[in-house]
Amino acid sequence: MHMPLEDNLGLNLLAANQHQAAHNREHFDAWQLLCINVMSSPGAGKTSLLERSLPLLATDFAMAVLEGDMTTQLDAERLEAVGVPVVPITTGRSCHLDAAMVAGGLRLLRQRLDPASLDLLWVENVGNLVCPAEFEVGEHRKVALLSVTEGDDKPLKYPVMFREADCVLITKTDLLPYLPVQVERIEDHIKQVNPHCAVLRVSASSGAGIEAWHLWLHQQVAAQRSALLAMPAPQPSSAAAPLSLAR
């Protein structure tokens, strides 16, 4: 029998990825850590920012980095020296990380430490302003970087990334004196598509703005801790049931 049927799904095209991302987040919550997904176009300064920030933050937080940026020059030794393990994620030449890749990276990390000991888990995404905005990995916060050398029209050209971000860092501000760009215009363009995100100016080279950025992070960790207290004790669900979507 062949019956013509129609299932009304009304579900996201990325449902399978979202399902894995939600499961990642269940584990993150059970481990009581805050996961931050760091995104930008290639070369906007993600790695440099982590190198500047993590040694300073290491006095307050236990952290680890999942590194998905293949071209990265992250100085893993220097970070390991301050107690921050760095685990590379295999992306298979994909232009973004997805939730399954991040789950794979975490499995590697778990061979080295108990994630429950962590306060902050960093994910450096693949350099790309397009699809990382749509592919959740289970993060609690999205941070987008935009360097002043990229011009002020990027937030209008790639609005989805800036709309989704909880915090936008305008990076490389030490270069502003040498550029025709007006940082106020960059900020205005970000605010047009996302009036509620935090917008901070930073320079990984000079350290300008880094304190405000770290203050924002402390606030997010504190907010996540109170959110977890308000929730029933998180239990990663039923041995990870595969997504099943009929009707």
Binding site: D98, Q192, A246
Partner: protein
Amino acid sequence: MHEVDMTRALVLSMQSWREGHRPQQPKVSRVNLQVGAFTCVEPEQLLFTWKVAIANSWLEGAQLAIEPVPLLGRCLACASTYTPAAEQGYRSPCCSHPMEEIVCGRELRIRSVDYELVEANPPPNPQPLNPVFCP
């Protein structure tokens, strides 16, 4: 071209949907999508990559129908809706308010699937296709 990744993600979601019909097999004739203007997806590109992705798969022959959804913002200063001029800016033309509320345009939605159920022959692999990994 990230539509390749989007198509892969769509096929994964379709596989999860197929799992729900075990032990029968759905033979899909059409997948009806809604794609908003305020997403990273170009409908034209998606149609192209879909054809490539489903060749020689269980979805072979399935048509992809894309309903484009325009971006509509609501101005929170005066409650009227507007379509932003995209790269010219996202403020409301009425009050120059930033784009706070998005009424529609973020859709990346599988609205429905047209199919018939056939007895699986051979029966589908008992292993679920999309296992969830514990991180």
